[in-house]
Symmetry: D3
Subunit: 328 residues, 6 copies
Amino acid sequence: MSDDAAFRPIPGDVLPRFAGVPTFMRLPHVPPDDPRAERVDIGLIGVPWDGGTTNRPGARHGPRQMRDLSTMMRNVHHVTGVQPFRAARCADMGDSPVNPIQLDDTLARVEAFVAALHAQAIKPLTAGGDHLITLPVMRAIADRARPLGMVHFDAHTDTWDRYFGGAQYTHGTPFRRAIEEGLLDPKRTIQIGIRGGLYNATDKEWGLAQGIRVVEIEEYFDLGPDRVAALARETVGEGPVYVSFDVDGLDPVYAPGTGTPEIGGYSTHEAQRMLRALRGLDIVGADVVEVSPPFDPSGTTALVGVTLMWEILCLMAERVGRDREGAS
Amino acid sequence: MSDDAAFRPIPGDVLPRFAGVPTFMRLPHVPPDDPRAERVDIGLIGVPWDGGTTNRPGARHGPRQMRDLSTMMRNVHHVTGVQPFRAARCADMGDSPVNPIQLDDTLARVEAFVAALHAQAIKPLTAGGDHLITLPVMRAIADRARPLGMVHFDAHTDTWDRYFGGAQYTHGTPFRRAIEEGLLDPKRTIQIGIRGGLYNATDKEWGLAQGIRVVEIEEYFDLGPDRVAALARETVGEGPVYVSFDVDGLDPVYAPGTGTPEIGGYSTHEAQRMLRALRGLDIVGADVVEVSPPFDPSGTTALVGVTLMWEILCLMAERVGRDREGAS
Amino acid sequence: MSDDAAFRPIPGDVLPRFAGVPTFMRLPHVPPDDPRAERVDIGLIGVPWDGGTTNRPGARHGPRQMRDLSTMMRNVHHVTGVQPFRAARCADMGDSPVNPIQLDDTLARVEAFVAALHAQAIKPLTAGGDHLITLPVMRAIADRARPLGMVHFDAHTDTWDRYFGGAQYTHGTPFRRAIEEGLLDPKRTIQIGIRGGLYNATDKEWGLAQGIRVVEIEEYFDLGPDRVAALARETVGEGPVYVSFDVDGLDPVYAPGTGTPEIGGYSTHEAQRMLRALRGLDIVGADVVEVSPPFDPSGTTALVGVTLMWEILCLMAERVGRDREGAS
Amino acid sequence: MSDDAAFRPIPGDVLPRFAGVPTFMRLPHVPPDDPRAERVDIGLIGVPWDGGTTNRPGARHGPRQMRDLSTMMRNVHHVTGVQPFRAARCADMGDSPVNPIQLDDTLARVEAFVAALHAQAIKPLTAGGDHLITLPVMRAIADRARPLGMVHFDAHTDTWDRYFGGAQYTHGTPFRRAIEEGLLDPKRTIQIGIRGGLYNATDKEWGLAQGIRVVEIEEYFDLGPDRVAALARETVGEGPVYVSFDVDGLDPVYAPGTGTPEIGGYSTHEAQRMLRALRGLDIVGADVVEVSPPFDPSGTTALVGVTLMWEILCLMAERVGRDREGAS
Amino acid sequence: MSDDAAFRPIPGDVLPRFAGVPTFMRLPHVPPDDPRAERVDIGLIGVPWDGGTTNRPGARHGPRQMRDLSTMMRNVHHVTGVQPFRAARCADMGDSPVNPIQLDDTLARVEAFVAALHAQAIKPLTAGGDHLITLPVMRAIADRARPLGMVHFDAHTDTWDRYFGGAQYTHGTPFRRAIEEGLLDPKRTIQIGIRGGLYNATDKEWGLAQGIRVVEIEEYFDLGPDRVAALARETVGEGPVYVSFDVDGLDPVYAPGTGTPEIGGYSTHEAQRMLRALRGLDIVGADVVEVSPPFDPSGTTALVGVTLMWEILCLMAERVGRDREGAS
Amino acid sequence: MSDDAAFRPIPGDVLPRFAGVPTFMRLPHVPPDDPRAERVDIGLIGVPWDGGTTNRPGARHGPRQMRDLSTMMRNVHHVTGVQPFRAARCADMGDSPVNPIQLDDTLARVEAFVAALHAQAIKPLTAGGDHLITLPVMRAIADRARPLGMVHFDAHTDTWDRYFGGAQYTHGTPFRRAIEEGLLDPKRTIQIGIRGGLYNATDKEWGLAQGIRVVEIEEYFDLGPDRVAALARETVGEGPVYVSFDVDGLDPVYAPGTGTPEIGGYSTHEAQRMLRALRGLDIVGADVVEVSPPFDPSGTTALVGVTLMWEILCLMAERVGRDREGAS
């Protein structure tokens, strides 16, 4: 237990949930250069950028709206009983610097920001941003000697190669790059919910050839969430794992506020069920991406996004707590 | 059969469904002091109040929007064949008086309004309002000698104790108060769909200790709607039953217009299935609450709410008709 | 004074304005066949129909939403001091029958409905519906021996002839028909706010040739509302007058919920100013048309529409009161 | 294979998907009188009309919004591998002429437009419009000697007889008329997803008496999509088939933008699953109807609608390709 | 000049305006108990409460959305050249505690919160909340020996007496109470933009009898903003002044997100013009109230609200700077 | 007169305005490589790109929505009587190629696209896109020997230098670059409506030093539209002129769908008035930019945008017609 009062959310009966400056889950705002930062276990951060988006932009506004809705989260996971803010020291560490009009500069800024956290042994839990932002995060935290496994929820594989006659960095390419760069172990990677028309008949080949376990949505519905979650555990095994949740993996009715919706996905309940089945994994980083507020001003999608962050946070915090107890 | 022409809806081929002053289900407007009131069996009413709401208000506008959408309801239940407006004398009896800025005064006004109906043997079917409005309704109709059973659809137990250092009446406390006051029999109470983060690890304890049968959403999905409905019948048994449907029991995609959405709930089809399984119970009152139009100006949530009212009305009317036939 | 308690709105401190079955301005609902009808001076009615609409339909939903928003109206005009519900007996007389898929049948139904009011000396104040609904209203109330004058607020003249190779009844033709039928006196007709691209260079000719005083928006802005209102009084003179307010006469920012918006119109304040300058005229009927809720679910346009109805009602009621006093 | 470069969509990496004049699926615009028309196999068309709508209009705007969203479709079906634009020559052939205010004239115009395509052996895949538009399409393409079978997805049977005391053509009557006129074979017709309150207890009788296989939503949920799809194949057998998909067959959360939503329907995934099971049938025409943009400006419903068109197009194109290969 | 780097906003070219935890105008978050607080000159605060609202609630969400939009503000006033963050030390001091369900408790909490600032000589610039929140702010800062003058922008006088048969504290009564309590000097009070129907013919009398200068909207339009602003200066004279801006003083097209819109108000440009004419006054506190996000999820109203806060901040900061210079 | 039937819009009484593939103003779609292109006088094009946007993206979707709404335009200007489709040969020439993730590549693609039109003496009338798109258009059409004058409607000068420590191409810099490159003559440039907080006290200096005539909004309101338009004519004089209309020059109530709204602008009527005063100028190119549909799904802003395009088109076509007549 690391029940540290400096890292606790503002209680809802002290200040109502709609009140106050909205940090992630009402946690204290601890920028990376704050003296308290060195004690943080899990850093909730935003990467407000959508410069890798080839169709409908807007995910740059995701962290702001997700912070707003995150104030509806509470303290105890109702199924697992995990109390993340007691199990680990959590903080809102602000947003990474980004450059809205320059892609390369942004990749460098994000990597540097997350690397600074990583240097202090802070695990990042990130609100995107489009899916390209996962690449610089992985660059900052992956150990090439022991590449990351990944549980990847998405409608798209994001393993395309080039776009528009050359561009190698878009929100459709991060995992191809991550594998090429040795950050991500394709054989410990599972992608869940893949669907939607293809550009070319060969779109699927590269990823499968690398050994990625692709669970297309049809297979998903045949197996059901419990068996798919078991497959996920089996695939990623024991090493360090990254969890990346693109909200377009959900059916668009659950996440209308996103750039590339594909009809026919899974439900939030099913997503929760799969996430909870990942208890105990060594999750060294995670993100929820592609929440695009201009396409859902109501905040419904952001509420879904932050509730999934809450589910992942409980996984991460429980493991942090266990590791600390084991170490002590 | 009580096929009384004075209590029939305006047919859609006389006046199109979008036309006319919108009463509940196009029924005649029969205020409690109208001479026709004494012949009414089931009174559809509104309680337009949200002063018990601790987060996002708006449910005070629920009855207005639900009346509007209710004009899309028709005459015959397509599965059970029940014709509620022939089986029982139904009327829109208007809205209860409320006081938008004073909680205690409102509780008194609502209780008095419903008590006047109860004195004429009119069963209330209520459109809320936030969930606190169920408390004064129960005060008006419950027989403390034979407390009510309840089938309660909700994401939250609404059995918290105090709020904000003292307040004992909020939309999170009605059923604690009702049990304490002897209106509600916890052992004949079932709560279906409970979920969402907890404030404290002990939040669940009081209700379980009273004997409430709590079906959390995880158990719900494991059992499925048919078995849960069977559990509900078993729990409430033979006595008088109240049905209380908070639309946040549904997944938020079905009811975005509500104050405290929790992702991962059941569908409207499943809700319909559970409600239909309650045929024959002695439902002495019912409500559909927490429809909050400002959070769903499209009216989708209100349409869901009134269709659930329609399902419940068919249950109530069928029983009324049967009781009358049995009595005659 | 005809301060008749049977025709008074429900006060806002008895039942809050968001509560209750929404009739126009919270007046009693007095259908034409109600015994109280014969005492009514001014009947507020809806004509929920848009079958004359050649572009974006939706005005059939206008009366419903306008009733909803009309509950925000109060009792005393803050500038003129008129108290319409004391000066005249007013009631919500419901919606006219209409046929959503048959134009001719609808014209007949509306005419018959309004004629029944007219036979009881009730002046209609109508919420549309598209602008074609003014034609059957005029047929019901106009005295061909003494045709109506008209103050017409609109972006369009609505004096086109035929549409689509023959159709003579659309929402672009009512006033051509009304003049041809001898219901409307073009020389006592003024149209205020006309603008927007033309189909043909000759579009304006017919109306001008009849003697209609057309105030295009450019002239309107050069003269200002006070001088235009003076022109209107001068044009209609002393006889019976009809006031027809198409909300697209306003700039679309004030009335986005309409079928044929034209940018660059007048403001609501200016409209109020012009309407108030019509005090004392013998307004025998009036309408506010083309409020289309599907294009403005927020209700802003409907609020504008009903506030304009309130302004017109004060004009009509003051004159009714004065005439009654004069007669007594 | 009919891989004809003249009938290929604009690739997304030549012009981004949000760019360009929006034709259906970015196909070339080939009006019926274009010389290229005679080579077209499948014509994607719009019928922008809602004059048969008895409640909430707006479907006339469907084709416009569906074209917009259809630019997100791609080239290869990710499950079946079908490449429709290689298997068949497809084109956007524009919108049928319609008359917004005259029903009979519209029925004639649509029939003539589609008959002209049919004369060139072009199979129509239509975006509605309300459901009445299916009737003139069937009149244009059905061979009375060998009437059409139909797989019909809908919440309503659309086999009512008359409306409003006489009207025989509304969006609630097309299939009664089609059966009476010998266009549609009721014994080869299946209706999937029927639900919602009835006007009269006898509403279901006529269709069942004709031999239509009606799968009400309750039976649907008991059987599941795979068995229902098998039933559909069995029912329509080997002859020519029409597929008509009213988006209100889906649960309203998937298709809020429609005129007559009924809660408790199937999901888009389930609809996709059923459609894919129809591979190989001789689909001679199809439509997706009742997308009503004013009730869903976000375009979510239109995206669902065009993705279902994509699913059906793959079925049609695969069969066209196979027939051509068989013939060659 | 008090160009203190500790109280400067985050520049937009360091972190884009859509990024970061949203404090008011990107200022540092300095809670009242932060050691830096004692150096603050002007405290931007929120009072997220709408428990005094008699019609449409939602203003409790105002401060959150206003913080979000306030990040679009910049550093230099483009007309006056004032640089508020150099002229005075400004900070976001968070939200006042409130109690969403208890009115009296809230009045006490807000007064205590603001009194603590006042004790440190911090001038409050407040984002509401409904208009009742001005009362406890005035209680905290007014010197009864030298009551406040007020420039009050509003559609309503908010000088009603009781509501609902007794309630003396609602958002319609704050200035009656403030005058009765000796906080506010009616003879130094001007109200600009008053309009809308009255409940009773005597509604205006009390305020006028106290000596308030009421500029109804008709007088406003006759005089124009420059002369009205001159009247305002003349009315409030030399003593301490409070500026209270209810966004419903604006025409609803500028501020649709509010609880009690009244058509026919002034524009934002005119409001800016009037505010700028108040340069040099001794503004000891100010607020912008009644921004209700549920009625405008787009944030347009909040942007208006915070831009008016910016205008007022420039007035206050310029005077603070001048006073400091004078003192030094 | 160049009344060429090949370049006429589809009439609204042949196909209703909501029907058909939406090209700009229902004109024929004539891509640059179409043989008809060489006869075009004025090419309506889209540049769907927002990669220069530093805050809220979305303008890439502008041309699509503007095409949709443009189908409501008609044939004859109601004030000037100009018939643009008779005075000049107009066509929708499609969208320029763009690269959503690479700024430099986009600048090159747009310049090449417009240069190809320019080579055929086609004058571009462009729908943006963000304001950076004006730069490559100017590069394509400006004659450095005789630089362009410009009438520029905007809230911002767009003459900033660098952004984010170096970036020289953003939507805040196009006119600085255009002046530096000799494309634009600052002494023949007028900017109308400038307002909003500044980043730095020196923001205004560069432009004024170049000799740009900056009409800040305060001066605008003091002078009024007629005198400002006269100033504009005087400033640009006789040479070639570019008209660039950023919709954020308008008050945000007229154009909520834009990325950087600034409250307190002019109205659409005033904009129309100013544009009409530019009759006769030698407008060699024009654009309407910064319409951002995700921030206004209702299409209101796009309707405003295309109506302004219509106003400009009438100016351009009248001059083309006159020049042709003069030449013949």
